[in-house]
């Protein structure tokens, strides 16, 4: 018996969508002896951000923004770090005959709620763990979960008012709620001014939001990424009771990570519109956003 026991897990097919079944084949170089137990763990590695040290809202944290510590490495209080945790979905005990393990095969049906594989959220794996007297044997096989249009519920989510005094009621309507990565999002922005207002400057963009919500650790702040800003019109006449409708087109990136909700983090997509008023006056910027669902399989 060699000192280094090698095993490998091969998962087929490599790319699947929810409710499909994958097969895992465990191959060992030579039979592993003196085995106590062996199990297969199906699940995903969940990527998220957490606050690694210090209290988030401590008085000391206010010192992070002072001018005299700007650019001074190591003088900040606390901080956020990227990390990952294993989320186990199904654990399967493999039969062991006479303390010898010589390979196995198993299948797993991807749950309908499975978060899609992406660098920001999850990497799906099948992990083998062989517990034995002596050096344990571990191996893992990876597979990719893609989310198709049929795997998500298609409904229009309510518009979110982000900022502004709603002097102009801004509404974003889309031709459909579910979009595929690389697709061009089309829709309309409707402006309904409540009073006569200065000329408006309207722009739209997509927005990707990643939230961290770890079970035990202190969550990180989360982050937002805005897409290319598409300027619709710089001088829209805003007169009381005269609605203005403008069509827009937004291109989603080809490698867009799909909308996903995992245990420790999630990704949400939006189409946002912002309206600025011309000149220096008391009118504040209006910002609204409409949640969309992004998928990456047909």
């Amino acid at each position: 018996m060699g000192l280094l026991q090698r095993a490998s897990v091969v998962v087929t097919p490599g790319v699947v969508t929810p409710r499909q079944t994958v097969q895992a084949t465990v191959v060992v170089d030579e039979p592993v002896r003196r085995v106590r137990s062996a199990r297969l763990d199906w699940g995903y590695v969940n990527f998220y951000q957490y606050h690694w040290a210090g209290r988030v809202d401590s008085v000391a944290a206010e010192g992070n923004d002072t001018m005299w510590t700007a650019g001074q490495v190591g003088t900040n209080y606390g901080g956020d770090r990227d990390t990952d945790d294993w989320v186990s979905v199904v654990v399967e005990d493999l039969p062991i005959a006479a303390s010898v393990f010589d390979g196995a095969a198993s299948s797993f049906r991807i749950p309908s709620w499975a978060p899609a594989s992406s660098q920001a959220i999850a990497r799906w794996e099948c992990r083998l763990a062989v517990d034995r007297e002596g050096r344990d044997v571990a191996a893992r096989g990876e597979f990719v979960v893609q989310i198709g249009t049929g795997d998500v519920e298609s409904y229009v989510e309510p518009l979110e008012h982000v900022s502004g005094a709603a002097e102009t009621v801004v509404d974003v309507s889309l031709t459909k709620p579910v979009w595929r990565a690389g697709e061009t999002v089309t829709g309309h922005v409707t402006l309904v001014p409540s009073t006569d207002l200065p000329d408006g400057d309207l722009a739209v963009s997509w927005q990707r939001e990643r939230e961290s919500h770890p079970l035990t650790r202190t969550p990180g702040p989360g982050g937002q990424l805005d897409g290319r800003i598409v300027q619709l019109d710089k001088r829209i006449q805003l007169r009381a009771g005269t609605p203005v409708t403008l069509a827009f087109e937004l291109e989603l990136p080809d490698d867009a990570p799909p909308t996903a909700a995992a245990v420790h983090s999630s990704i949400n997509w939006f189409v946002q519109a912002r309206l600025m008023y011309r000149g220096f006056n008391g009118h504040s910027l209006e910002r609204v956003r409409r949640p969309i669902i992004v998928v990456n399989a047909p």
Partner: protein, 136 residues
């Protein structure tokens, strides 16, 4: 926000998710929460000098780092008290010197508001009616 469909029969239920920073609320130490709960500005100022609050700044750090930080915080405690006192003095000096100047400088603005927007002016005065000068 969950977009996935309800779990189908025969599949494991989705594991529960955690809470985001907004959902968890303010993350402060017990000593700081106590200091922030003080209604009077004077008591809040005194709490800022409490050794317990300074000591609690090491909360949430990993073991060993935390003990080292607590040791450093004890060392700098006299300097902290000095800094808070000097800061308080500066604040006091600001109220005594700069505030009267600003009061004088913005006299025409207030007079204009009082004349042209009397309701707003009265509402603003009422907002600060029962407050001490250091609470404004």
């Amino acid at each position: 926000m969950s977009h996935a469909q309800q779990p189908a029969a025969g599949e494991p239920p989705p594991p529960p998710r955690g809470l985001t920073r907004e959902e968890r609320g303010r993350d402060v130490s017990a000593a700081q929460a106590e200091a922030e709960a003080q209604t009077s500005a004077w008591k809040r100022f005194l709490h800022l000098m409490s050794p317990r609050l300074v000591w609690s700044m090491a909360d949430g750090y990993p073991v060993v780092v935390k003990q080292f930080l607590q040791f450093c915080l004890i060392l700098i405690y006299p300097a902290w008290v000095f800094a808070v006192l000097v800061g308080g003095l500066f604040q006091l000096a600001f109220y005594v010197t700069v505030y009267p100047l600003l009061w004088l400088l913005f006299w025409p603005v207030r007079a204009y508001q009082k004349k042209n927007n009397p309701e707003e002016y009265a509402a603003n005065r009422a907002k600060y009616a029962n407050k001490k000068w250091y609470e404004t």
